[in-house]
């Protein structure tokens, strides 16, 4: 049955996360941006509260294909829907801080979907400890941005494990992470079939964080460059174990990398929706206060506000649709790309229009200016807008026998 009301559980998650966003995130939002870091004390506090942007808690199992074992649970899974609902609220609070919340982050889904039971226990178990811990996901390289099949980080098989050599960029929480899921290739000539996913632990000799980047926005979030120099990784850290790559057809490592996106893109889209909503609501309040009783709000301002409301709702529903499909265990690559493309685009438009409405005053210590800087990357990371369009177009033309 078509339904858009939140279930009691969904409402509860939304209300709880919203409370946290409003009372714990917003107060430190502008300061964290200015200082380009989230206060340690704050992180310890929220870690104790158990708040996380953990993909393994909220989502993380999208991308399962219909040919997987049929499910028999009487209750419909709603992890992905809960994930997008929570992500929207957290990003509404502050997107940079949301990305800095302790937890496995983007590293969660590949460990969940591909890791052996021992690996899951070993790597995900650390997040139950008292001190904040992070996981990270290292795929992108300087020479291979969106074309992730072109990664060059090498994994050379040696006795007892692999030796990694290569350079990764734009890794969220990459410096502070206790471990990183790193993608490397055993042989670039094999293309996608040569890809392997490793969990590389902090402190492994030859694995270093060389730089934390300064960015236009999301300044409180740590974006690191990582280098592997003759870095030995024991065989136990090969995600899924050797057998996983031998038994499955060819491009398994690549599939691990890609299927992550089917669950994380809706999360990222939801965050973009949350940012747009934050800017919209902030501007609404601003307009209310700037136009005292009796003074007419200009028509173009009213129309812009109405238009923003429509765009935000459209993006949210596309996001819900992608998450809903993932919960049903249906392939959702097209929907995940659609929501990411739409939310990425409109969220910047909304933030820009909000600044336009506020005028020069908006530049000076207002949240909207920060949100505008923050939101731009949501149209870039987790696959640029162009990549999303390519994915959508491929799916549209596939049934007509055309490969793009």
């Amino acid at each position: 049955m078509i339904d858009f009301e939140l279930s009691p559980q969904q409402k509860q998650v939304r209300d709880m996360v919203h409370w946290f966003a409003e009372h714990e995130m917003r107060p430190i939002s502008l300061l964290a941006d200015k200082e380009e870091r989230v206060p340690d004390e704050w992180l310890r506090k929220v870690n104790r509260m158990g708040i996380t942007l953990s993909m393994s808690n909220f989502g993380g199992d999208a991308g399962k294909k219909e040919d997987d074992a049929p499910r028999k649970e009487p209750r419909e899974r709603q992890a992905n829907r809960l994930g997008v609902i929570a992500a929207e609220e957290l990003a509404w609070g502050d997107p940079a801080i949301a990305l800095s919340l302790p937890g496995p982050g983007l590293g969660g889904p590949p460990v969940m979907s591909t890791g052996t039971p021992e690996q899951k226990e070993r790597f995900l178990g650390i997040f139950t400890r008292e001190e904040p811990r992070w996981g990270a996901y290292a795929l992108t390289e300087p020479g291979a941005g969106s074309d992730v099949s072109g990664i060059r980080t090498s994994a050379k098989k040696v006795d007892g494990g692999y030796v990694l050599n290569g350079h990764k960029v734009y890794i969220t929480n990459g410096g502070r992470a206790s471990w990183v899921v790193a993608f490397a290739t055993v042989d670039p000539s094999l293309g996608r079939a040569g890809h392997r996913a490793f969990v590389v632990e902090k402190g492994t000799p030859g694995f270093t964080c060389t730089r934390v980047a300064h960015k236009m926005g999301l300044r409180a979030s740590e974006t690191a460059e990582l280098v592997f120099e003759d870095c030995f990784v024991p065989i136990d850290n090969l995600l899924g174990g050797e057998a996983h790559y031998e038994n499955r057809a060819g491009s398994s490592g690549f599939r691990v990398a890609m299927s992550t996106f089917d669950s994380t893109r809706p999360i990222v889209a939801a965050m973009a929706v949350g940012i747009a909503r934050a800017a919209y609501e902030y501007t609404l309040e601003f307009v209310k206060q700037e136009y005292p009783r009796g003074q007419r709000v200009r028509h173009d301002v009213l129309a812009k506000l109405g238009e923003m409301d429509a765009k935000i709702h459209a993006a949210r529903l596309l996001t819900w649709e992608a998450a809903w499909k993932a919960d049903l265990g249906q392939p959702n690559a097209k929907e995940a790309a659609m929501c990411k493309a739409h939310a990425g685009r409109i969220s910047l438009e909304v933030c820009a229009d909000c600044l336009e409405i506020m005028g020069p005053i908006g530049l000076d210590g207002h949240l909207v200016e920060k949100l505008y800087r923050d939101v731009k990357v949501f149209d870039i990371f987790e696959g640029t807008n162009q990549i999303q369009h390519l994915i959508v177009a491929r799916r549209l033309y596939e049934p007509h026998g055309l490969r793009l």
């Binding site: 858009f4 279930s7 009213l302 238009e307 409301d309 429509a310 809903w324 369009h389 007509h400």
Partner: protein
């Protein structure tokens, strides 16, 4: 519980409607446009399938379907041809007013569901309302509206001098009005678009169905319903244009390769798909909201319509663009869909006004969802 899954019943109904749209509506679209009306046999086939009385209340032999089911059926029908759908009897805006009337059974439809009854909700400055001893007198010409031509009955609503809202039912046997087809050439040519001329038309006390608060509520509720239903039809024409464009471009080669391999084409088509999906989701959400909250969900309904009108213009325009010169020729359907979508936007649009009202509501400026809002 967020869900995008239609029920089995809905799916079955949509399948029937979809097949009819593909086989009958799509096929006869150009003829209907030329004749400026759907053919009698298409109308009677639609009637037999129960497609003309989806919105009408049961007491008027209607199906009284929830909006969330209707929007799926209408989308499927408009996928066949929006022009014909808009020219079908029964699928008129007045059905939404009838649906909300406290005693619809008191109405006597001249020819059951297969009747075109326009709803003339008088806009400010459109038609003058003068109080007479025996009711009201209407003077002026109403703007062009769908279903106006050939109507034997009219639903009119207006604000009487003094601000009281009135809903009335006029019948040719007792009331007089003229009709004028004008010179409509843009689109929706089978939709019986015309102006209604009131020259001293008398609305007698016995013609008045509702007045005051009751009338206001029904008008507001019907406006929300009409917005959602019309938005659903927009999604249908978008889907038609999208599907045809994919089909056509996947065959078309230029510079030695299929043109979707140029990203200027494939990215545009992806945008068409994203906009179509976004509009459809908004329509479904609004339908769900109006089903449960009535006129209180006006924000959802107007958001869906404004977005759908804008998207329909975008998608159908890009459909023509992607076909290039062929898109401009009437041998291909996309130019018609573009004209139809634009005409639809003109009839139901003033998109910026919809957005403006939404902004007003968000700011709490439109305190009362009055009949003029």
């Amino acid at each position: 519980m967020i869900s995008f899954l239609p029920t089995d019943e809905e799916r079955a109904f949509v399948e029937v409607a979809g097949e009819f749209a593909r086989n009958r509506l799509r096929e006869s679209a150009r003829d209907a446009e030329k004749a400026r009306t759907p053919s009698d046999d298409v109308v009677s086939a639609a009637h037999d399938l129960g497609l003309l009385s989806l919105e009408l209340p049961e007491s008027l032999a209607g199906a009284e379907l929830p909006l969330v089911s209707q929007v799926q059926v209408l989308e499927a029908l408009a996928f066949g041809d929006l022009g014909i759908v808009q020219g079908m009897p029964g699928l008129c805006d007045s059905a939404s007013v009838m649906r909300l009337l406290p005693h619809p059974e008191r109405l006597e439809l001249a020819d059951g569901a297969a009747q075109r009854v326009p709803w003339i909700h008088v806009e400010p400055g459109e038609v003058a309302v003068i109080v007479e001893r025996s009711g009201f007198r209407l003077e002026g010409v109403a703007f062009p509206r769908r279903s106006a031509l050939g109507a034997d009955q009219l639903l009119v609503s207006f604000l009487a001098p003094g601000g009281e809202a009135i809903v009335a039912w006029l019948d040719r046997t007792a009331a007089e009005w003229s009709e004028d087809a004008g010179d409509v050439r843009l689109g929706l040519l089978a939709a019986h678009i015309g102006r209604i001329g009131f020259e001293g038309t008398i609305v007698r006390p016995e013609d008045v169905l509702l007045r005051g608060d009751e009338a206001e509520q029904v008008i507001a509720g019907a406006k929300a319903r009409v917005a959602v239903l019309e938005a659903a039809k927009c999604v249908g024409v978008m889907r038609a244009s999208l599907e045809y464009t994919i089909e056509y471009t996947s065959q078309r080669k230029a510079f030695g390769q299929e043109i979707p391999k140029f990203q200027g084409v494939s990215f545009t088509v992806a945008d068409m798909a994203i906009e179509t999906e976004a509009a459809r989701n908004l329509v479904w959400q609004a339908a769900h909201a109006v089903d449960s909250r009535g006129a209180e969900a006006m924000q959802d309904a107007s958001r869906a319509l404004a977005y759908a009108l804008r998207s329909a213009r975008f998608v159908t325009n890009q459909g023509v663009q992607m076909l290039g010169g062929a898109g401009y020729l009437q041998e291909y359907p996309v130019e018609k869909w573009m004209r139809d979508a634009q005409a639809q936007a003109v009839l139901y649009g003033k998109e910026m006004e919809w957005f403006e009202r939404a902004g007003s509501r968000a700011l709490g400026l439109a305190e009362k969802e009055g009949v003029l809002v």
